[in-house]
Amino acid sequence: MLRYSFSRLMGAIPTLFILIALAFFMIRVAPGGPFDSERSLPAEIEANLRAAYNLDLPLYEQFFRYIGGLMRGDFGPSFQYKDYTVTELIGTGFPVSLRLGGSAMLLALLIGISAGTLAALRQNSRTDYSVMAVSMTGISIPNFVMAPLMILLFAVYLGWLPAGGWGGGAWNHMILPVIALALPQIAYISRLTRGSMIEVLRSNFVRTARAQGLPERTVILRYALKPALLPVVSYLGPATAAVITGSVVIEQIFGVPGLGRYFVQGALNRDYTLVMGVVVFYGVLIIVFNFLVDILYAWLDPKVKY
């Protein structure tokens, strides 16, 4: 197990390096700089500014300085928010995004797994068809379409919930964004669970368990659920990536002061360090999460040899 984890970790490190390099060089190659503005600065001042941000050094040296900084948890200063470092900005935005994304993920797992199991147990019944229809809708309607429609219905017409803002994370502010973010994942997870549960319910060990006269509840919860959830476990990685990507647009729509909003603002303002910081931060998060999921999967699945 330890050796397996170690080899997986060794695989993750070049990925991390390439991620950072790709982000770094792409931004540096791009035309336009952070000091392009309507009034052009005098040449000397611009040179001084560039020197202050180390932009006058050769590219490879900037790159190694950046990596060195990352090792110490230093993402550099923000070009736009002059008084903040990128680390500070991530520090203020990420807890909000984590709360939003984490709740969405939990909700998606909870509802997705129960709905999928239910549909599998009553295969080809009306319950099954309605779960699948709702799930198809969740997959087909993107969350940036669903979110405004939900605001229109629940905030504008019915007036039950606030249309946007974060309210310091108050529950009524969280409901709509969390649901909008979770819906596509609920759809995917319920489809996955249904498919694998149907397969597991046909397998020999479930038949044996039933033949022993165990109550259906025990058969499902004790025997069938764990192997049926393996595909869901391996979907956790892509799901996290999807939730993070989705949170960019959901935070934008609902005016949630999270990391995704910083990212879009930073991208539009050409805030090099901030944008790169967010990409690297989220990239590392996804890679680390995938690594943990791989280990969890190997631990759960008796068929994986390590």
Partner: protein, 302 residues
């Protein structure tokens, strides 16, 4: 596949009738698909939508960038021929929705072709060559797979300007990874299948083996995958346009229209509802067709 082997030929219902004609994979698949009502309805809707998107704008007296000063931000009405209403700049929403559809569908198809091209050549090369090269090529795919690509596409759009060619390439370039994996896996497993071996033993030429056995079997998977990639690509494009990073004014796409609509929804809900319905319906139909095709072309199911 199995159907083409004489021993597996389906017996004819009436004995003594004309000799049993072997049914090809595609005829079989078509028969399965035809019975799938949701998929068939979806095909019809997609076809109708494509025709509407192409000829629809000509049916309206208005142009997609033209301002009707007498009818700014009006609800749908028949008298002024603004059947979907107009936006805050007095532009006809019916024409704009269809124009947006042209862009969205075009990006969906072209970017899918880009990813198809890269994915098939990459995957087939890796699968065919095998060994160390295969290992290296797939390792690269693994690494790229772990990247948060949406973020990179956003960066690309921001830093290199928002032109439409770049959207095609960027979206196509992120979607080829799945295709490469699928094609490689298929090629690898097909190479060692019994029916390929049987064909080899019978002295069928390599070209004919590839033409009769490898390509048709790859095609099934590829066709299914293409129908599932198109909605994904449309989704990515809409996502970018929604954030204001996709196609530029006065051109539009469904994502851009949904974005405009979302900003005006309290006063002009029709601006949100029409493009949203068109976008969702298209994605819905493509997903249904993809699912249907998967059922029809999956050899495991027979």
């Amino acid at each position: 596949m199995a159907r083409e082997m004489p021993g597996h030929a389906v017996p004819s219902v009436e004995p003594g009738a004309t000799p049993v004609k072997g049914r090809s994979l595609w005829v079989d698949a078509w028969n399965v698909l035809r019975r799938n009502r949701a998929a068939m309805a979806s095909v019809c809707i997609i076809l109708t939508m494509s025709v509407l998107v192409i000829v629809g704008p000509w049916l309206s007296p208005y142009d997609y960038a033209q301002t009707d000063w007498d009818n700014i931000s009006i609800a749908p009405e028949w008298e002024s021929r603004h059947v979907f209403g107009t936006d805050a700049l007095g532009r006809d929403l019916f024409v704009r929705t269809l124009h947006g559809g042209r862009i969205s569908l075009m990006i969906g198809i072209v970017a899918t072709l880009v990813s198809l091209l890269i994915g098939i050549s990459y995957g087939a090369t890796a699968g065919y060559l095998g060994g160390r090269i295969d290992h290296l090529m797939m390792r690269i795919v693994d690494i790229l797979y772990a990247m948060p690509f949406m973020f990179f596409v956003i960066l690309l759009m921001v830093f290199f300007g928002r032109n439409i060619i770049l959207i095609f390439v960027a979206i196509g370039a992120i979607n080829w990874l799945d295709m490469a994996r699928i094609v490689r896996g298929q090629t690898l497993s097909l190479k060692s299948k019994e029916f390929v071996e049987a064909a080899e033993a019978q002295g069928v030429s390599t070209f004919n083996i590839i033409r009769r056995h490898i390509v048709p079997n790859l095609l099934g998977v590829v066709v299914v995958y293409v129908t599932l990639t198109i909605p994904q690509v449309i989704l990515v494009e809409s996502f970018l346009s929604f954030l204001g990073l996709g196609v530029q004014e006065p051109m539009t796409s469904w994502g851009a229209l949904v974005n405009e609509g979302a900003q005006e929804m309290e006063t002009a809900p029709w601006m949100l509802v029409f493009p949203a319905v068109f976008l969702a319906m298209t994605l819905f139909c493509f997903n249904f067709v993809g699912d249907g095709l998967r059922d029809a072309l999956d050899p495991k199911d027979r």
